[in-house]
Symmetry: C2
Subunit: 697 residues, 2 copies
């Protein structure tokens, strides 16, 4: 697949199925293209000589086009695409619906469509797309009612209706776009392709989107993390909640990935995730128009104490902090402000402040090196000229090159000043918390820009040994393996307590004698899942009791299930639970993102408090370390309440090594090390459980 430059900037567009019939989509697309498109429009329709004043060709081959928009009925879409391919048209937008989204015939039609697109290496948008638009060349190749105004954001959406709603709103609010793409069923081109393209587009400063799913999770992460170094991406990914995920799945007909995977994956990709339409555009407009702050300390300049306090709460809720001013700044404020003012942040310049006092205070604050950004927060008063204040605010933003948000509170009396601010890319909000929220997105993006992505470590492992152990699953009916597969850990260098699986009492005794101190003994059988429940586990067994205990465990297992497949008894060194902390390192395979790593503290912390964290594998050392740091119970690992700190490096390395194992073997569907006991001196994987898909081995 080539670049999408030609898709958005074609010279000649063939509208396959163009017609002048009122109310038809063919008419709507032609209507949208005609008035503003810089290039040529060629109707393709064997039934007409001309369409809307343009002479019509019978077949796309005659159009000499470099882009085709297809609006013919579903049953003749495939031949139309094939003809486009034959004719060397590489860019195709399929507006026609009735494909994957309908199931049945439509789904098989979509599979064929993909094959044809692959055969001709087409840049194909859709099917079931509203179309695409670009304000750079006036192209509106869609059947939507509105054309976008020009701007520096590019916008993709998995919902065409959402595009129509946004354009209707955006044109009213003077919010503009570079390109717009309705992704439709994403049979060929998906979000990763558009992110990749717009990341290289000098006219796109922010990428925004509405997605219900991500088709290829890992590819998306790898592409987006590069793009977001220069170009912020803000997305609403719906299906955040269980109810939403169900609705998304029924809307798009795809298997939903887990929310944990999306949350981890989008974060790893450097995407700013908006929770609502309002958040999406608040963040996007700020990112599209303002510089990124050097630090997270904000100054609030206000003529109203109450709203000043509200804004401080909003700062407290955000990643920003109220700036502490330098002494010089405080001195200047002391000189400038009336005695009833407040020289500390929020700076209260008092209700009788005129524009001059506002301007001077903002100038003083922005000049302070501690101040990364500022908000002008004002209530209407008789002495304050809002338009003049807007002009001064714009000027000071330019002078200092720091981001500034405006919260000129009021209704109609604010409109003119808001227009002045908006023209300079400073949005105005009635609610201080929205202004702070928008500034916070800038700061969050700054953090993303400063990330350095490192390659996951490549540990020296014994892949063949691991494969051999995994293959044992072929003898099992339930695809599961347990402690009998502890060799996997050895092959991948994950520490475990000393121990062995034995099948005779005297061997048990020999192992126990080698191990210094009491041992733990466990029945090993794929048929007995809950060993403890049947008395299949013995803790703290002394050397001289080991042989007897072996017999007892075997007898209990036989009594419980006479035909159970008994692989023996595991004799294991006792983990030091007094000085150790039980953790869980787990993994499951997400349908969109692939292997998803999990980390948390064992027992109630995971089961009752759900204090867990996730990353899409393979994870780098930094990512693994973040996992150990971001759970709420992290202080327990670091040694809260007088405990010795656990071996964090050991946990981090275990996460990385398991990540490598599950990346190496796509057959591993689930893997839990539970518990991984972490003491001050090291870690040990005491028990494991995994599910393996033999067909992927």
């Amino acid at each position: 697949m080539g670049t999408l430059t030609e898709l958005f900037a074609p010279d000649r567009i063939a509208v396959v199925g163009a017609t002048a019939r009122e109310g038809s989509i063919g008419r709507a697309v032609t209507d949208n293209l005609l008035p503003a498109f810089d290039g040529e429009v060629v109707p393709v329709n064997p039934n007409y000589e001309e369409v809307m004043g343009l002479s019509c060709v019978d077949e796309i081959g005659e159009a000499a086009a470099d882009m085709a928009v297809i609006v013919v009925p579903p049953k003749i879409v495939l031949p139309a695409i094939e003809q486009a391919g034959e004719a060397g048209v590489e860019n195709v937008v399929v507006i026609t619906a009735g494909f994957g989204e309908t199931g049945g015939d439509g789904a098989s039609r979509e599979r064929e469509l993909k094959e044809i697109a692959a055969e001709y290496d087409l840049n194909l948008v859709g099917p079931n797309s509203l179309g695409i638009m670009s304000t750079a060349n006036g192209m509106n190749a869609s059947f939507g009612p509105d054309s976008p105004e020009a701007g520096n954001m590019s916008f993709m959406s998995q919902s065409g209706a959402f595009i129509t709603a946004v354009l209707d709103w955006a044109n009213d609010e003077d919010v503009g776009f570079k390109d717009v793409a309705s992704l439709g069923n994403k049979a060929v081109l998906d979000e990763t392709d558009f992110v990749d393209h717009w990341g290289d587009d000098p006219d796109t400063d922010v990428i925004i989107g509405y997605l219900e799913g991500i088709s290829q999770g890992r590819e998306f992460i790898d592409t987006a993390r590069e793009v977001t170094q220069d170009t912020p991406i803000v997305l609403v990914k719906s299906g955040r909640t269980d109810a939403g995920a169900q609705a998304a799945s029924s809307h798009t007909g795809t298997i939903a990935g887990s929310e944990q995977a999306y949350e981890a994956g989008l974060d790893q990709a450097g995407v700013l995730r908006a929770e609502s339409v309002q958040d999406l555009f608040d963040a996007a407009q700020m990112l599209a128009n303002q510089p990124v702050p050097e630090n997270n300390d904000i100054a609030v300049i206000t003529n109203a104490g109450g709203p000043g306090v509200m804004s401080t709460d909003a700062v407290g809720d955000s990643g920003l902090e109220m700036a502490s001013f330098e002494q010089e700044t405080l001195d200047k404020f002391s000189e400038q402000l009336p005695p009833e003012g407040n020289i500390y942040n929020p700076v209260d310049i008092v209700g009788d402040a005129d524009v001059e006092r506002f301007r001077d205070a903002l100038d003083i604050a922005l000049a302070d090196e501690n101040v990364g950004s500022a908000m002008v927060l004002s209530c209407p008063t008789a002495v304050l000229d809002y338009e003049q204040l807007a002009a001064e605010t714009v000027e000071l933003r330019e002078k200092h090159g720091k981001p500034v948000a405006a919260c000129f509170m009021g209704g109609e009396s604010v409109d003119d000043s808001a227009a002045i601010l908006s023209d300079a890319g400073i949005p105005n909000y009635f609610d201080p918390s929205r202004a702070i929220g928008a500034l916070d997105s800038l700061w969050e993006y700054r953090g993303i820009q400063q990330r350095t992505y490192e390659e996951p470590a490549d540990f020296d492992v014994d892949k063949d040994a691991a494969r051999e152990i995994l293959e044992r699953v072929e003898d099992r009916s339930d695809n599961r393996l347990g402690v009998e597969a502890m060799g996997l850990l050895e092959a991948y260098g994950i520490p475990m307590p000393d121990g062995e699986i034995v099948d005779a009492p005297e061997d048990a005794r020999a192992v126990a004698e080698r191990i210094d101190g009491d041992v733990v003994m466990k029945i090993v059988s794929p048929d007995i899942l809950h060993k403890s429940d049947i008395g299949g586990v013995a803790v703290g067994v002394a050397d001289d009791e080991v042989a007897d205990t072996y017999e007892t465990l075997i007898t209990r297992a036989r009594n419980y299930q006479p035909d159970a497949n008994l692989l023996g008894v595991q004799v294991q060194e006792m983990a030091d639970l007094d000085s150790g902390t039980e953790t869980i390192v787990g993994m499951n395979r997400d349908p969109q993102f692939g292997p998803l790593m999990m980390f948390g503290l064992g027992g109630i912390f995971v089961e009752v408090l759900e204090d867990t964290t996730f990353r899409v594998a393979p994870v780098s050392e930094t990512e693994a370390r973040e996992m150990t740091e971001e759970i709420k119970t992290a202080p327990l690992l670091r040694g809260a309440r007088g405990r010795d700190p656990a071996d964090l490096d050991g946990i981090v390395e275990t996460i990385q090594r398991l990540s490598q194992l599950v990346a190496d073997f796509p057959a591993i569907m689930e893997f839990d090390i539970n518990p991984l006991v972490a003491t001050p001196d090291g870690v040990a994987a005491v028990d494991i459980r995994l599910t393996v898909d033999p067909e992927n081995l």
Copy 2:
């Protein structure tokens, strides 16, 4: 203090300090009163014969007024109030600033003002108030630039500037008010008085407000919980965050109560707390105009799948749930909708839906008994007439008497339909999550209406014995008591392990022999805070070791601090920690709300995870029970992970009994039972620590 009816509906208003001087507050107030006030306005100013065409009197006594607005300079405010009192004017609004908010002279002036107000039993607003307004009689007794439009919400604010901003905005948005009050310094009348008054006002359907503090917490709770049975209260209480609390405190000059106390107190009061200005008005307008839903199940009717999914996420974030339709409803949808539609919730009536299809679908959904509320969610299309859809939406809301929210997405093309909706009290939002959030407030209010408030239990206790123990603090330099005050628990019927404090080894032995099993022994000394650190605690001591251990503990204490005041050694039954859960029941005294009860699980759960919950005392049984249910670790008490459930009734009763103790003795500043060990069979307070203010005994 009488009712505030006359304050908001006076016949004659004296403006003390009225003047025609441009730019003066006296001029602004007179200007605001003249055009619309139903009653008489009498300027009071010895310097003028007439002011703005009204004949002026020299003294308020000559004005025959029933309300006075005072705008004279600070130094002559007090005599003016006194004259008002002498003249029998019971309602006074003091606009003049320069009182408590300035500290120093102003603060002492405010104290005098309070005395005068008390002497004449005045309904006094302010000082430092913007003024008050009522649209019932056209009274704008303020110096703000705008007058409100009429409506059914009454609005109070601790920030006058916020009132000017809100009115400017509200007039633009057609949002109206019954009364508006700027509380100023709240020297006499405070939020509780206004809530009390508006609760009885038949023209006030919703009370909203902006507060930075609540003057008398307990009184507010008791008043508001009655009012909110009929009239919802929505408040922004700022200072939610640490930074905000600091800013609020510096703005109002009052000692801030803790955020935990506000959170608990406002909840106990039945107040809906808004986190932002937007949330405040979204909730208030919904409550002011729409019926309360019978259940929390919402139906979403949409012509756009994507926004439907977004709204489902918003429902997932709220207290609402997506309704499951009755079979009859599903059958009707199947009949009505095209095959590509979705008859399940969100109901997708597809992009080509006209008004008729929208109307029928909404009608079907609202007729379903499972459906408590509905949202009409639409994207602009060529076939949809938004104005007609608005009219149908209004009609169906009336027909079914269920709340309906609108999300007609778009810009200018929505304006006319939004006006139709707004006239009928249906707000329209571009963002589905705002519409859902507003509906959620209705559901939350329904929960408040259904609360039944019960009196706290009145346990039979030995108050005299408790007092005697508390008085021992008078001998202490640090106001603290510890285990030596365990008798308090006995006096208030809180169970504890068997034990005694003894001062001789043979007595220790005697106590130990009476107790069945090993004992715990602890040094008892007000001078030794961290007993464990100096080896002052011995656990699991057998009978025959008790006497020796006694000597050892005493020796260690003497070595550690030769002059320590040793009260003896506590010999205590060992708590059953194996089957028990350590909890903490605590209390501290909040400057605004008084005694604040805390509950949580001991150790890391409180210290690392901060999993705690709070209630203002005295707490009822229901409130105490809620405390045990709402912490995140509640499942551990209920018996998660195979444990036996703890004695929840015992914990609940302990919370209530401690609540009674701290309510009975205002001298108790802090009290911690830590741990209160809860086993399946009961609870036992193992250790206590309290701080007592001897001056309040």
